[in-house]
Amino acid sequence: MSTTDEPIIVAKNLRKVFRAPRGAKWDPIIAVDDVSFELYPDECLAIVGESGSGKTTVARMLVGLETVTDGSLTVRGESRAKGVKHLADRRRWAREVQYVFQDPYSSLNGRQRIVDIIAASVALHDTAKGTTPKAAAQGILDSVGLGERFWTKFPHQLSGGQRQRVAIARALAADPGVIVLDEAVAALDVSIQAQILNLLADIKAERKVSYLFISHDLAVVNQISDRMIVMEQGKVVDQGVTSEILANPVQPYTRALRAAVPRAGWKPVRRERLAV
């Protein structure tokens, strides 16, 4: 990443308020409040926070799964705040920003073989480049470590780590500029988590793709991200270069999050005694 590049994503004073539907009685929830950040080409930006901090809502607005209440959100200069009108726009948006969820099992079509899942995405986004969608899909699966013996399998025949590789392959099939990774390694065993983090590093080096990496695990964030923003109750409370923030956290909330990560010599602390 270099700061002379134009940012791919610019969020300015982003706000999301969930209001009670007609007939329901609850106070509006301010999920995201005055959030601003930029994502540059070829960088990994982590959004860190506890559940309910609004980190996933930011990502969902980015891919159009939620509307924007207030503020501006642009991808390559084009606003995403107003929502899409046409299918062709929706497709172009999807092509620019792809989303990988925590649980690949619930986001893959269980009745399709994995090569067909990937080929469908290749065909939809027309990224085959002189070959057939199926051949392109096979190449992508190879590149995420799923060789020929996996191609005709169904999602339920794969392990959690293998399924997450399929989800990553499907994101790559759109040839996106940005991949949102929403707690994408949180549910995996330590040994599998290490493999997937290494794979993500390889993909980024090879394809110059940017990641928006959403996580509550600071050790993982330290391993993969270049910069990070810390969210608490919808607001950004800290941001900067990951290694600098984690080496010397200044903000009290960041300090508390860091202090809660188990490591050598660590002891659990009750929350009222944490400096939140």
Binding site: S191, L197, P262, P268, R270
Partner: protein
């Protein structure tokens, strides 16, 4: 040393299928003394949850269990129905990963906490509620009287897990089985819940069998660790975290990202079934 509270000796669990058998626990042995905490660590499928099920005799009837499991000198596998019921009600308390799956959603927190006391112990309702309120306060639940009238869906995951801990402590067990109790929680809630479990357990002198995939967390809360791979304990003792000797433990510890130092590349586990079987054969020879 006096007799340990819980002792597993060469426990083997075999899943019987129509035409084949599969050994899923293969010679598991460990002891937990009075007031001691053992961390049982392993990855998915290593058999750690099966082990807790074997301890409470809750394995599916399709399993055949060999070896011996003794609790305070009594054979768990030999208990009759009433002894088993008493053992599960009074002696062991269980905390699970997903508290929401283990509470009745249509009963209030108060009903959930007092039901067993009133029904099984003959404590009167008002006294049971008084005890529940006192314990909720001890596990850091603010405004406990109001919580008794709330329903599980109104509580966050961390709060509900503290209610679960309170419910287990109310039964005054001697052994707590905690199966990934903080895996679904944020790091701060995890720290909170583990600190509460740790201090309450120590204050009451209870024993703990703590199941987790997180070696760091287990090391912080347990006196000894046992590492499981493929239904077997490959290494156990107080030394495991600081000076692991088994290659699987060494690799498992190395694969976790370090918050204090970014690795150029994370080491990937090379340990597999083949190496596992070879090492076992060599140890036998």
């Amino acid at each position: 040393m006096t007799e340990p509270l819980l002792r597993l000796d060469n426990v083997k669990a075999t899943l019987r299928r129509r035409r084949s058998e599969q050994v899923l626990l293969n010679g598991v042995s460990f002891e937990i003394g009075q007031g001691e905490a053992l961390g049982l660590v392993g990855e998915s499928g290593s058999g750690k949850s099966l082990t807790t099920r074997a301890v409470t005799r809750m394995l599916d009837p399709a399993f055949r269990v060999d070896g011996s499991i003794t609790f305070d000198g009594a054979s768990v596998l030999g208990m009759n129905a009433s002894a088993l019921r008493k053992y599960r009600q009074k002696d062991v308390g269980m905390i699970f990963q997903d508290p929401r799956a283990h509470v009745n959603p249509v009963h209030s927190v108060g009903d959930f906490l007092t039901e067993a006391l009133v029904r099984d112990r003959g404590v009167d309702q008002r006294e049971a509620e008084r005890r529940a309120v006192a314990l909720l306060d001890e596990v850091g639940v603010r405004n406990p009287e109001a919580r008794l009238r709330q329903y599980p869906h109104e509580l966050s995951g961390g709060l509900l897990q503290r209610v679960m801990i309170a419910s287990v402590l109310l039964a005054e067990p001697r052994l707590i089985l905690a199966d990934e109790p903080t895996t679904a929680l944020d790091v701060t809630a995890q720290s909170d819940v583990m600190a509460i479990l740790d201090e309450q357990r120590k204050a009451r002198g209870l024993s703990l069998l703590f199941i987790t995939h997180d070696l760091e967390l287990a090391a912080a809360c347990c006196d000894r660790l046992a590492v499981m791979y493929a239904g077997e304990i490959v290494e156990q003792g107080a030394h495991v975290y600081d000076t692991p000797t088994h290659p699987y433990t060494v690799e498992l510890l190395g694969a976790r990202p370090d918050i204090d130092a970014k690795a150029e590349r994370l080491p990937v586990l090379t340990y597999n079934r083949e190496i596992h079987e070879r090492l076992k054969a060599e140890a036998m020879a």
